[in-house]
């Protein structure tokens, strides 16, 4: 199968510091892929390598089977950088015209494509406005309009919601889902985990240059399934007994207990241990971890040097 993006053993070093450390990643055609990570994790470096703006120290990357070093690989790619910089003296329309020419859209079709992009980002009424006079949100809209120009097969968005208002968020989400329905592959670099959770089919979490978790959204949520217990009179003895069950981790914040169990049947045993130990179970329920919780837990534990192979 030909992937939209394929990275094999990608390493990027700046002196002794590894910004990317042996990254293996594939993005399927037609999916929305979320790439998550804290600041400085290597997300933007990865994107820049894919776009041949930064060169990998070793390993290789392909876009639709084409080596990223070849300009042809970017023929059907739309890109929105994290902080877009544009010639301020151009109007939005001139800016899009410039990019349409760079993409190689024929002169007859340029106007149609520009109109379509402007309409999608609700920029029609300000098409003649100079970029230098735009607000941050409007500039971001212009940047997205530039990225979706010419109906790219692969859309790479680095923090696309930055500067957008809630209406902009909603419009962007709709746009991405529409584009996905039309077969566009979308690679989303974002800190806005709730947005990623709502739109992405698959997610990878990167920290310190390494991918610490990847999989489908549902898969990741399932693996973070845990038993949440609110109990009074919880003791260390009870914790030791629960530890002997098939769980892999306990988190206790003084009031509620979060237990990651491998076997759902053990929930009965947890209840029994607490009750027999003289405690009082106020509530006991199964909960799925949100992407935000999963992200926080994985990154936090990674930063603290804990084993990353937990569920």
């Amino acid at each position: 199968m030909q992937f939209a993006i394929e990275a094999q053993n990608l390493v990027k070093k700046y002196g002794g510091f590894a910004a990317l450390d042996d990254i293996n990643l594939t993005v399927n055609r037609g999916e929305i892929f979320g790439f998550l990570g804290p600041n400085g994790a290597g997300k933007s470096t990865f994107v820049k390598i894919i776009l041949n703006l930064v060169y990998a120290t070793s390993g290789n990357a392909r876009i639709f089977g084409e080596q990223v070093e070849r300009p042809e690989a970017r023929k059907t790619v739309g890109f929105l950088p994290e902080n877009i910089r544009v010639y301020p003296f151009l109007s939005i329309e001139e800016f899009l015209y410039f990019h349409a020419e760079l993409i190689g859209i024929s002169a007859q079709k340029i106007k149609t494509h520009i109109d379509s992009s402007l309409r999608a980002m609700a920029l029609e009424s300000v098409r003649a406005q100079k970029i230098g006079t735009l607000s941050k949100g409007m500039l971001q809209r212009a940047g997205i309009a530039q990225a979706i120009l010419g109906s790219p097969e692969l859309l790479i968005l680095d923090e696309p919601t930055s500067g957008l208002d809630p209406i902009g968020f909603t419009e962007l989400r709709r746009l991405l889902l529409d584009m996905k329905a039309q077969g566009t592959t979308i690679f989303l670099n974002s800190h806005l985990l709730s947005e990623v959770e709502r739109t992405c089919d698959r997610v990878a979490i990167i920290n310190k240059g390494k991918i610490i978790k990847s999989g489908s959204r549902d898969d990741l949520s399932d693996r973070g399934k845990h038993l949440e217990v609110t109990a009074e009179g919880f003791t260390d003895g009870m914790a030791a007994s629960i530890n002997s069950l098939s769980h892999k981790n306990i988190e206790f914040d003084g009031k509620s207990l979060r237990i990651y169990l491998n076997d759902e049947k053990d929930s009965v045993n947890v209840h029994r241990i607490i009750v027999e130990g003289g405690g009082w179970v106020q509530s006991l329920s199964w909960k799925s971890e949100s992407l935000e919780e999963l992200f926080y837990r994985l990154v936090k534990h990674e930063d603290m040097g804990f084993n990353k192979d937990r569920p």
Partner: protein
């Protein structure tokens, strides 16, 4: 089409810079100087210099003044052609498109050369109009002299663009003008017979003249064509043009090699 798209943007960018108009205004003063010094307008007698000699001096100063400021303009624009886009993050959005880095360099350098050549053409035309209209007719000498200077501009622009990738972009035109001046200086003994009586070029000067880009020879050829006086030791113009072509290739390859190594 892609290079032309970049060139159009580059032209707009260049024309928005005040330095273009400032340098044009300075150069205009040299044109007016030439107008004020044609034989018809020179008044008074001078025991040392006749009217023709005074006119010749004014013509020379004007011509070289215009060329110098055109070179300055070209250098200032060329020093920012690539580095400004790289420093301000503009290049990464452009290069994320299916565009090779060679095409990017060409698209950024062309507007610099067009603006510089246009500046020289306008000034040259005015020079021609003001000076030669008074003397009766326009010969082909003048456009030909300025054509040689356009070749010099192209090489100079390429050299400064190349230098700007190695040294701070504001220093590149300065370093370039020093190189230009050294080249002109090492060419002097080969163009002025009288000078050679006083100054026999040392081996170092000869070596510099041989190895440096022949900006000085080009300027000398331009001046020679303009004055109608045969150059003392002009040598074969093909050698000069060969030197210029070779240096143009070298500067292009170094620029492309360096720019391709740069991460954005």
């Amino acid at each position: 089409m892609k290079i032309w798209a970049l060139t159009k943007i580059g032209l707009k960018e260049c024309l928005r810079q005040r330095v273009v108009y400032f340098i044009f205004a300075i150069s205009l003063l040299f044109v007016f100087m030439a107008k004020g010094c044609d034989i018809g307008t020179i008044k008074g007698e001078n025991m040392l210099l006749g009217k023709e000699a005074r006119q010749g001096i004014a013509l020379g100063i004007s011509f070289h003044g215009i060329v110098f400021w055109s070179i300055m303009l070209c250098g200032l624009l060329a020093s920012q052609a690539l580095t400004r886009d790289m420093d301000e993050g503009l290049a990464s959005v452009t290069l994320a498109r299916p565009l090779s880095r060679d095409a990017f360099i060409a698209g950024k350098l062309l507007p610099v050369l067009i603006i510089s050549a246009l500046n020289l053409t306008i000034l040259g035309s005015l020079f021609c109009w003001f000076f030669y209209s008074a003397t009766g007719g326009i010969t082909m000498q003048l456009p030909l002299a300025f054509l040689f200077m356009t070749i010099s501009l192209a090489l100079y622009g390429l050299m400064i663009c190349c230098l700007s990738l190695f040294i701070p972009r504001l220093l590149a035109p300065l370093a370039g003008i020093v190189l230009y001046m050294v080249s002109c200086w090492s060419s002097l003994p080969y163009f002025f017979e009288n000078l050679k009586i006083l100054w026999t070029p040392s081996e170092t000067v000869q070596r510099l003249h041989l190895l440096l880009p022949k900006f000085g020879d080009l300027q000398g050829i331009g001046a020679t064509i303009l004055s109608g006086q045969p150059a003392f030791e002009i040598g074969n113009p093909l050698v000069v043009l060969g030197n210029i072509a070779a240096y143009a290739c070298v500067f292009w390859y170094i620029t492309a090699w360096m720019f391709k190594r740069r991460e954005l």
